[in-house]
């Protein structure tokens, strides 16, 4: 603490123009000198700017985002031990206040006849609890409408519709609904409790799935989708977190019809729907266009891709990056990343993930049928023949096949350029020395593919081919591919020029 006030240094300090020792001294002085503190504040900016800071920076994007992502979506993705941390959050306390007291010390409270064991998850519209149904001695999942929406008519209707939707699709691969009722003015419904967690958890724990498991999961989800689509319902949120598993069986069931849309209804976007990961959304969903049942098939394709390789196909640093890639990019081939995937499965997934709906399979039933046949063959290759894969259309190549074809084309171009150059030179020389003989030659390029290259020419062509080949073998990257395209284009241009020169030369000489 120095006696002499250093306030004359305030301005220089603010702009960082003091020498380091002076600065150090000033900061020490500042700790105890109210006058300098005030002066610094006045000099820094006017009152309006301070006020502006208060109003504009009140909400911190990062911490709000962190808070929001910490609250799990309405899936079974939170285990019970995570709950304690969860309950600490004030919002959650509000939810637990909803519960009626219970006699059982192990329970958190009651909703109707159900003893609440813990919180499973939370979504835009509701809170999902794990609960115990005493009358039937089984665990259930209870979804209660978000208390803050209790007085909103539209929200209540929508919540009721989710229950109705799920109840109306009675299918072995859709989570069954046991009851619908009200508790303290809040509607809730009771669903089956899945004890095996979600596909999302399974991928996180165990990584990629074997091909047969991928087929089995795909078959079951496509059957569930078929059942929903037949009723004119589009799920719109197919993702691993919404597919529930059971201990000890390979059965899966689709849950969370909170976003379901009646096909004929006008689009009703749930606010904040984009807030989560868009990784499983279809291009049309991202563009905000109308979704139909084929949008679910795209999401299914993305889900199967994820199961095959252990991560989502479109990854980027930001949400927008992901969305952009979904709309524009072709993902890397599945086989490239997991060589155990059968080639047909890669084509199958690629077909589901076609950018336009017309190019995808047209309904979930077709998808289920194909998978059924493949599974039958896979399980019994001796007696059941490999299915005819008539759905593989030639023009829709898998990314891996595409790559091979591009390499081959490039190699052919190199040979063609070398050949054509050589041919044209030969022809020109030839035409200059012996015009009479030349006139009998046809005017097409065909006979130009002259045989017998000399050693030097062959060698130079080989070197060229080898260097291009080496370049193509570099790990694929966008930059590489662009260069590749350019090379192809310029090669083509050169060949065209040569042909034109060749033609001109002939015409002028002959006529």
């Amino acid at each position: 603490m120095s006696k002499a006030c250093l306030s004359k240094n305030t301005a220089l300090f603010l702009t960082g123009d003091l020498t380091p020792p002076e600065e150090k001294k000033f900061v020490e002085h500042l700790s105890s000198c109210a006058r300098c503190q005030d002066k610094l504040e006045t000099l820094a900016c006017d009152k309006a700017t301070w006020d502006m800071a208060k109003s504009m920076l009140e909400f911190d994007p990062e911490s709000e985002k962190a808070k929001r992502t910490k609250l799990p979506s309405n899936t079974n993705s939170v285990s019970l031990d995570q709950n304690s941390e969860f309950i600490e959050q004030s919002e959650s306390i509000a939810i637990f206040n909803l519960l009626h007291p219970t006699d059982d010390p192990r329970m958190l409270g009651r909703i109707g006849n159900y003893e609440i064991i813990g919180l499973i998850g939370r979504g835009g519209m509701g809170v999902v609890f794990k609960a115990f149904d005493q009358s039937l001695n089984r665990n259930v999942a209870v979804k209660v409408l978000e208390p803050s929406l209790a007085h909103v008519g539209a929200a209540r209707q929508r919540f009721a519709r989710e229950a109705q939707t799920m109840a109306s699709i009675s299918h072995e691969n859709v989570i069954p609904i046991f009851a619908v009722a009200e508790h303290a003015g809040l509607p809730y419904f009771v669903m089956e409790y899945a004890d095996g967690g979600t596909l999302e958890q399974r991928i996180a724990e165990e990584g990629s799935f074997s091909a047969i498991d991928v087929m089995q999961v795909g078959l079951q989800i496509s059957k569930a989708l078929d059942a929903a689509h037949r009723q004119g319902l589009v799920h719109r949120d197919i993702k691993p977190g919404n597919v529930l598993m059971y201990r000890g069986t390979s059965r899966v069931r689709v849950a969370d019809f909170g976003l379901v849309q009646v096909a004929s209804e006008a689009s009703f976007t749930r606010s904040g729907m984009l807030a989560g990961t868009p990784a499983f959304m279809s291009p049309e969903q991202i563009r905000g266009e109308v979704c139909d049942h084929r949008s679910d098939l795209f999401s299914l394709g993305t889900l199967l891709y994820t199961l095959c390789v252990g991560h989502t196909p479109f990854r980027a640093e930001t949400v927008y990056g992901v969305m952009q890639r979904i709309v524009h990019d072709t993902p890397r081939g599945v086989v490239q990343q997991n060589s155990e995937t059968p080639a047909w499965l890669e084509s199958f997934i690629a077909r589901l993930m076609s950018k336009t709906r017309e190019q995808r399979f047209q309904d979930a039933a077709t998808v289920a049928q194909i998978l059924e046949r493949e599974i039958a063959h896979h399980q019994n290759p001796g007696s059941i023949r490999e299915p005819v894969r008539e759905w593989i259309v030639d023009r829709e190549l898998t990314p891996t096949q595409n790559k091979i074809i591009r390499w081959l084309t490039a190699a052919l171009f190199v040979i063609a350029i070398a050949g054509a150059t050589y041919g044209v030179i030969k022809q020109i020389r030839f035409s200059k020395t012996d015009t009479t003989q030349h006139i009998q030659k046809p005017l097409t390029l065909a006979p130009v593919e002259i045989p017998a290259w000399n050693d030097a020419e062959i060698q130079s062509a080989q070197v060229k081919a080898a260097s291009l080949w080496a370049e193509l073998h570099q790990p694929p990257s966008d930059a590489n591919e662009n260069r590749f395209d350019q090379q192809l284009r310029s090669a083509r241009k050169r060949v065209e020029e040569l042909i034109r020169d060749y033609d001109t030369e002939f015409t002028s000489e002959r006529f």
Binding site: A44, M52, R68, S271, G321
Partner: protein, 198 residues
């Protein structure tokens, strides 16, 4: 990060490239926070603000390829602020509709009043001023140490006394004041740079 004001045009140009991925990421990181703050200051809920962020960025992405440089630096900015404003308003309306709050249940025509108020000229200025602040603050935040930002934020936004903040962040009171005042001075400086350009 003096990068943005001057090179805004070149950034848009790079967005228009087929390989605009990097420019896009730069753009979205810098603007994400600013748009979010802007939307929150317009009474939007966190989820809605996030939706606006996404929609603005998508809109930018849509117009970028066909963006004409007319030589006016303000062109893009004006467009951006107008777009944000419009999207905030749309989202606010949508939210009210979704929640079943129709115009009738509000005081008569109040929603229209809000719209009219928002459409007036003086509001353009307010929009621009707020946006400039959000943007400048976001830029400064990215440049300084998180601890410095926190000290600034706690003292000047949350209004916590400097000595408590100093204790909490394990800094000297002098450093807290330094963080507080230097940060705002820097933000102010950025804003005036922006204003001089328009």
């Amino acid at each position: 990060m003096a990068l943005l004001p001057d090179t805004r045009h070149s950034l848009i140009m790079r967005l228009a490239d087929s390989d605009g991925q990097t420019a896009w990421l730069e753009f979205s990181k810098l603007y994400e926070q600013a748009i979010y703050r802007f939307a929150r200051s317009r009474a939007l809920q966190p989820a809605d603000a996030e939706e606006v962020v996404q929609e603005v960025l998508m809109a930018v992405h849509r117009v970028a390829p066909s963006w004409n440089n007319t030589g006016r630096t303000g062109g893009f900015r004006t467009w951006l602020v107008t777009t944000m404003h419009r999207l905030c308003l749309t989202t606010l309306r949508k939210r009210q509709r979704v929640l079943g709050i129709d115009n009738g249940s509000l005081e008569n025509g109040s929603l229209e009043d809000v719209a009219a108020k928002h459409d007036s000229d003086s509001d353009d200025e307010r929009d621009w001023r707020d946006w400039a602040f959000c943007w400048a603050a976001g830029e400064v935040q990215l440049e300084i140490l998180p601890q410095t930002w926190r000290a600034f934020w706690l003292t000047s936004v949350v209004n916590e006394p400097a000595d408590e903040v100093a204790k909490q962040l394990n800094m000297s009171i002098g450093s807290v004041y330094a963080a507080k005042c230097r940060t705002i001075a820097r933000i102010r400086e950025r804003i005036s740079t922006l204003e001089n350009q328009s």
